[in-house]
């Protein structure tokens, strides 16, 4: 994992990336093949207008040239598409590891490409939003998520939920509580797969902490602990951390310490605090689990 300083130094890179990605909202489709076709058409029109008669072998050569150019254009376009998908996949994995520089580098490569396919660009915006959240740039994250959700029809269900959960968190962090509540309510009412429902509950914990309703979170802490463990993988660590904050606020120090110890056993404390600044008081108050390396 990169240091927090390094993450902050990438803040301006992320902001610039969001501005560029959001500004170029409607990119034209790949025009390479169209340009080549139009060029060749102009050549034929010119030849016809000059009254040049083209022999049979001339047509053969023209057809061969057109086929070659078309083939090269097609191969180039599919290579670009493959590269874009590769970059977005890398960005997704780096984003989950919260490696801000590596994620922004991959997103930059993907989003700056002229021939980046629209679905990849929209997924890129979702990842951009999440990495902005990891870097503590909630406003930029919100912009990226909203831009992505404008093209929600381009997103598969998983990406759509990822974008909506991210948007809810970004809005909470930007203190747009009414909007955040609406988004969370909408998500809660939807039939979601178990892992996404757990992620929504993670945001609900954060909502509880922001709205000063820690006791509601505490009341469900055991149930949520098991749910996070069942469905969130390593991200359960964030859930345990948020539960620990709620418990600590309600004066249940022993249980808070235990949950904090679970959280820091899965994720290092500095990374927990980087992702959820709400956990900073706990990091200062309680000792973290020891890692052997």
């Amino acid at each position: 994992m990169r240091s927090t300083q390094e993450v902050h130094s990438h803040g301006h890179v992320l902001r610039a990336l969001v501005q560029r990605a959001v500004a170029s909202d409607r990119r034209p489709p790949s025009t390479l093949v169209l340009q080549i076709g139009a060029g060749l058409l102009l050549v034929f029109v010119a030849l016809a207008s000059l009254g040049v008669s083209i022999p049979g072998w001339g047509w053969t050569l023209i057809l061969s040239a057109m086929a070659s150019i078309f083939g090269v254009a097609l191969a180039y376009s599919s290579w670009q598409k493959r590269r874009a998908f590769h970059n977005i996949e890398q960005a997704h994995q780096w984003c989950r590891l919260m490696d801000v520089p590596a994620t922004s580098e991959n997103l930059e490569r993907c989003l700056s490409s002229r021939n980046c396919p629209e679905p990849v660009r929209v997924i890129g915006l979702v990842e951009l939003g999440h990495i902005c959240l990891s870097a503590g740039q909630s406003l930029d994250a919100e912009k990226a998520f909203e831009a992505a959700l404008k093209h929600s029809h381009r997103l598969g269900p998983d990406w759509l939920w990822r974008a909506e959960v991210g948007l809810a968190e970004a809005k909470l962090r930007c203190e747009q509580l009414t909007d955040a509540n609406t988004t969370i309510k909408r998500l809660s009412q939807r039939e979601l797969p178990a892992c996404w429902r757990s992620r929504v509950h993670l945001v609900t914990c954060l909502q509880g902490l922001h709205m000063g309703r820690a006791q509601d979170v505490v009341a469900r802490s055991n149930e949520l602990w098991h749910e996070f463990r069942q469905h969130l993988g390593v991200e359960a660590g964030y859930g345990y951390g948020l539960l620990a904050v709620a418990l600590d606020r309600c004066g249940q120090a022993a249980k808070a310490l235990k949950f904090w110890s679970d959280a820091t056993l899965l994720i290092r404390p500095e990374r927990l605090v980087q992702r959820y600044p709400e956990l900073r008081p706990l990091a200062l108050k309680y000792g973290a689990s020891e890692w052997p390396w």
Binding site: G56, T60, S64, H86, E89, R96, V234, A236, P292
Partner: protein
């Protein structure tokens, strides 16, 4: 029930192999025809009122486009099949996959993808012989490596061989991965299979090499897989006398997923898990407050007895 009847499977594989050869030769023929047309055209040989070179080129071009359009349509069928598999409806995807294998396509990758999807379905149905056959068929083709399908095929083959108790052959299958530049997603897929093979063949030292990196990578896996990887690493660490690290990994495993459920869902995981937990209890340090002792089913208990205890 087998994903495709074994008798039919052999016929399907033979047919698709033949069609893939034909597709290569046909594409080569089109290229040669177009080149020849370009060469003979300036000579001015006429076929009726038409230039022969032009005629050959038009015929070759039209045939090629027609076959390509047909093949692209099959590609759409494959996408539909992949969608059905991701929606956990594999039985509905099988007819699409079989149709892709049966009908001719210029794009050989469609057939390789269909084979791979069928292998995955067979693995989920615990039909390990079919999985091995299908994955092995994918690996026969160089195209699989170029299209990035060979990693998945190697893993399916190794997995099926391990399930059939052939660790040596599984190692042979995994050796195909050496020297390949793997993407993060591929490294993620490789990690549990490779660890399982290392544990089966007693290679504990390589299993715990680059431990930090492996633990970081396991963080990207879904909960159950991440838990399994931690259990395997904890066992390897124990064999390497890295007791503190083993305890740490087991505690992490218990926070990733319910160990009782893991043991019930995956008997081979139970065979590693129970000795680890017993060792923890003997040491008088229960790994975690939330982790109860494994409530193993008779199958699981049998697997545990067969396992090498510490």
């Amino acid at each position: 029930m087998a994903v495709v009847a074994h008798k039919r499977m052999g016929r399907l594989l033979r047919k698709s192999r033949l069609q893939m050869h034909v597709a290569v030769w046909l594409q080569l023929t089109f290229v040669v025809a177009i080149l020849l047309a370009g060469i003979i055209s300036p000579v001015g040989i006429q076929l009726g009122t038409m230039d022969l070179g032009l005629f050959v080129m038009v015929v070759a071009g039209i045939s090629w486009f027609t076959l390509l359009a047909r093949s692209l349509k099959q590609g759409q069928l494959m996408q539909q099949a992949a969608r059905l598999i991701s929606q956990n409806r594999p039985s509905q995807a099988v007819p699409f996959l079989v149709h892709t294998l049966e009908s001719f396509s210029l794009l050989r990758q469609n057939k390789l993808l269909a084979l791979l999807h069928l292998a995955k379905i067979a693995r989920d149905q615990e039909d390990h012989v079919t999985t091995g056959t299908l994955a092995g068929e994918v690996l026969r083709h160089d195209l699989a490596r170029r299209k990035g399908l060979s990693v998945r095929a190697c893993l399916l083959l190794a997995d099926s061989l391990m399930e059939q108790g052939d660790a040596d052959e599984a190692g042979e299958a995994l050796s195909h991965l050496h020297g390949q530049r793997l993407r993060v997603a591929e490294r993620l897929a490789v990690l549990p299979v490779l660890l399982r093979w290392q544990m089966l063949s007693g290679k504990y030292a390589p299993a715990v090499a680059c431990l930090e990196e492996k633990v970081q990578l396991a963080a990207l896996l879904e909960a159950r897989q991440a838990c399994l990887v931690h259990v395997l690493l904890a066992t390897a660490a124990k064999y390497q006398h890295m007791y503190e690290i083993s305890r740490f990994l087991l505690r992490r495993a218990a926070l990733h997923y319910d160990l009782n459920m893991l043991a019930q869902e995956n008997p081979s995981a139970a065979s590693y898990l129970v000795p680890l937990q017993i060792a923890e209890e003997i040491a008088g340090r229960k790994p975690h407050g939330h982790m109860a002792c494994v409530d193993a089913s008779p199958d699981v208990q049998q697997a545990v007895q067969a396992a090498d205890p510490f």
